[in-house]
Amino acid sequence: MTSRAPAQYSGADRKELDRVVIRFAGDSGDGMQLTGDRFTSATALFGNDLATLPDFPAEIRAPAGTVPGVSAFQIHFSDHDILTPGDQPGVLVAMNPAALKAHIADLLLGGLLIVNRDSFEKRNLEKAGYSSNPLEDGSLSGYQVYEMPMTSMTLETVKEHGLGKKEADRSKNMFALGVISWMYGRPLEPTIEWLERKFAKRPELAAANVACLKAGHAFGETAELTAYEVKPATLAPGTYRRVTGNQALAYGLIAASVQGKVPLFLGSYPITPASDILHELSRHKNFGVRTIQAEDEIAAAGMAIGAAFAGHLGVTTTSGPGLDLKSESIGLAIALELPMIVVDIQRGGPSTGLPTKTEQSDLLHAMFGRHGEAPLPIVAPYSPPSCFWAALEAARIALRYMTPVIVLSDGYLANGAEPWRIPAVGKLPDISVRFATAPNVDGEFWPYLRDDATLSRPWAIPGTPGLEHRVGGLEKADGTGNISYDPDNHQLMTKLRAAKVRAIEEDIEPLEWDGDSDATVLVLGWGSTYGAIGAACRRLRMRGKKIARAHIKHLNPFPRNTGEVLARFDKVVVPEMNTGQLAKLVRADFLVDAISIGNVKGVPFKASELEDELLELV
């Protein structure tokens, strides 16, 4: 662990800024995600607050040099706490014409545009659909344009390292990183160390990339580009790291396994944008984590159920289309009353929809997407780091109440990264389970004899003598769990299953709201809109408007005081990346005329958009 980077980087000769939004854009092959990732890492080490937003092209690589083939990465960093990856970049790095074409529209007027001049030749311009060269036709007059011969200088730099043309060309992203690092006073060491670690087996590659990084840095200095400084933010004391939502979610599941003293079992089938959780968990076998890549989502859920019956914390991770397929299995888990976690990383729908884009349109599906009366708890993270909490909380509920729990994350949270104050393991909740070890009704074992407090049934796992029992999807007699077709028993069991879930409201935090005590408008959100709503409200307040906001983290059951909170305000506005799903639930449950602000574009709300929409309502 490095402690915060030396200060000399923030030299006095630098122009001070409180926040900067930079977007790196290039061909899928140009390694923009890596560049952004390294810059972010240095920025984190430097001590700024930050938020990032990777923007992948469609799943399949488009031909090099074309607009659909462009991949981008945006970072927002500042000397104060920020909430979003930023609306419009003030700085755009475009590695080729296609990247320029795809992103120039977003660059703030007067913004900084840094291009790799070498790539602006005929073929690339054509591929990008430019009839004339934008660097020459004056179309960029609205921006401060820095043209740099990145390709040639890179090739020049790596010559002595004897790299092939292809590999050499691949290093130009390090040159770009060097330039930007100089401009914003980012330390190079972390990236150098990282390169040396990464290419340990191929020192010549490491050396070449380091050389390019330094070359870019030197270029920035000698070309006397304006240098900026963004002072470190005053984050709460603690140890920080950067995490993406999927990473945090995987860690949260492992933490749940450790804190629950129960082995972790993942049954999953790859699907964008959920696959990385499977990838991450597969790497931690030394925690006893079992991961199976199942033949499909139904099998994945089935395996998790089987593992849960066998005494493991059964988990299955997926995205929308996979959640559809798991519906029947989730219904079974509800009938069996076994602890299982179903993670849904929401993406653009319906059907295959927009696999690489984000959306919040699975909420009602998660609530009601099963035949019969089949309620289950739903937890939703609201920032990349909070995915850790969501996983742990879902596990706590699943284990305590013997029920499947759905975690609703989304594509933005999954891939976005933010600094995370690492929790002290000692401070994590103890959620250890108690398995049944002895008969519970004079000598017999009744698998559906419920705990008075939680209404949950005992968890008796194979290997425990004397507790042999059978469970199944047919309706069960209360207590004994034997098959029962009795009408009144069915009514009772239906009530009990609902009551069990409902009772959880007593066991979760009440809904908090903040803002002006005399505000008449409440902005109610859930999930990844947290940052955008926060930023929009902050701006409105800066404009002297009164407004309050609350964010729901438990979507079923709702926090017990939700009704009261809503009742305090004249207007309840619900911004969602869907057509009004939480709004519908709130209207039904509390009969408040919740106003929905829907956004179904596959991209997160921009704080400014939201600010404008809210402005009309306050």
């Binding site: 082995p263 199976i292 099998a299 089935g302 159920i305 299995s329 079974l332 389970v433 469970v471 098959i483």
Partner: protein, 357 residues
């Protein structure tokens, strides 16, 4: 770790290594649950249940270490009648659910009971993938060539042209041969027997239980309500002696009342049925369960087009291959050895954390 829980959480040890109910003393009765058995009078399922319950005590596995998993169907009610752990799952998914049980807990003996519809229609994919992975499961497929529970529609094993509720003019689809399907799916143990086989059925069950990995057993089962007599040519006293071909490892394949018929492999690789007297015993095909190449077993599975002809019974194939759960277990252990037991704090700290003070 022997308890099959690479991370050795205490509770697991408790659950698993604690003095078990013991096995020496077990009898058939110990495996009879308190649930009233509900199949139609005369259903072949009764005989299979009796056979399983009678074999269980011999296996030396304590009751609490046995799990029966099923899907939906008449046959799938099976777990309720076994006094072991059990899951009556959803239609077709038993192999997947059982894979979860067996992979989470290699210390358990996991049985799957399924039907021709449950296992080969809706559940076909899970079945072939479980076999491919060689998950440690004993899979009993009750093949009555009909959908019993839903009151008589044809199934993927029903003969073509079958008239049922859903095919009043006769079915137009060609059936699966479950043994061929299993062999095409890389199964390591494949066998066939029948509900009325008083001796052979228990033998095969013992063999399946003894096989480490996926053991697939097709059991011809009479549904006397919706498909009565489907296996008459093999079940009837006379037909049975004429048409049942018992496969025995290392033995030339002979059958018939006096073993007067035999199976021979022609030079072009085609099997044929011959009169032993004419062909001579020496020319007969000698059965080889353990052959790494499943082709011979496959050829034997094609000997009969359906249960109306001389049909092989017994073990078609029995070979060793790494077991899915064991392999995963091994990875967990070696990971723990190499990287050391997982330490949460270290995991969370990650590679490049920084402190703010």
């Amino acid at each position: 770790m022997a308890d099959g829980n690479g991370n050795g959480f205490e509770h697991q040890d408790r659950g698993i290594t604690e003095a078990s109910s013991g096995v020496a003393t077990l009898t058939r009765k110990d495996f009879v649950s308190d649930q009233e058995v509900r199949w139609c009078p005369g259903c072949g399922d009764y005989a299979i249940l009796a056979a399983v319950q009678s074999v269980m005590p011999e296996l030396g596995v304590p009751r609490e270490k046995i799990v029966f998993v099923s899907g939906i169907g008449c046959s799938s009610r099976f777990p309720y009648y076994m006094n072991t752990y059990g899951i009556h799952g959803i239609h077709g998914r038993a192999p997947a659910i059982a894979t979860g049980v067996a992979t989470a807990r290699p210390d358990l003996q996991v049985w799957v009971v399924t039907g021709d519809g449950d296992g080969l229609s809706i559940g076909g994919n899970h079945l072939i993938h479980a076999l491919r992975r060689n998950v440690n499961l004993k899979i009993l497929l009750f093949n009555n060539q009909i959908y019993g529970l839903t009151k008589g529609q044809y199934s993927p094993t029903s003969e073509q042209g079958k008239v049922t509720k859903s095919t009043p003019f006769g079915s137009v689809d060609h059936p699966f041969n479950p043994i061929s399907v299993a062999l095409g799916a890389e199964a390591t143990f494949v066998a066939r027997t029948m509900d009325v086989e008083r001796k052979h059925l228990p033998q095969i069950l013992r063999r399946a239980a003894a096989h480490r990995g996926s053991a697939f057993v097709e059991i011809y089962q009479n549904c006397n309500i919706f498909n009565d007599g489907a296996f008459l040519a093999l079940a009837s006293k006379e037909g049975g002696t004429r048409n049942r071909i018992y496969l025995e490892h290392g033995k030339p394949i002979r059958f018939g009342p006096a073993g007067e018929k035999g199976v021979r492999m022609k030079s072009d690789g085609q099997l044929e049925i011959v009169d032993v007297s004419e062909a001579g015993e020496g020319t007969l095909l000698v059965h080889d369960e353990h052959r790494p190449d499943p082709s011979l077993a496959f050829a034997l599975s094609r000997l009969a087009e359906g249960p109306s002809q001389p049909t092989p019974f017994g073990v078609f194939r029995a070979v060793e291959r790494p077991v899915y759960g064991d392999a995963m277990e091994h990875q967990l252990r070696s990971a723990a050895d190499k990287q050391g037991h997982g330490e949460l704090a270290r995991l969370l700290a990650g590679g490049d954390a920084w402190t703010v003070d």
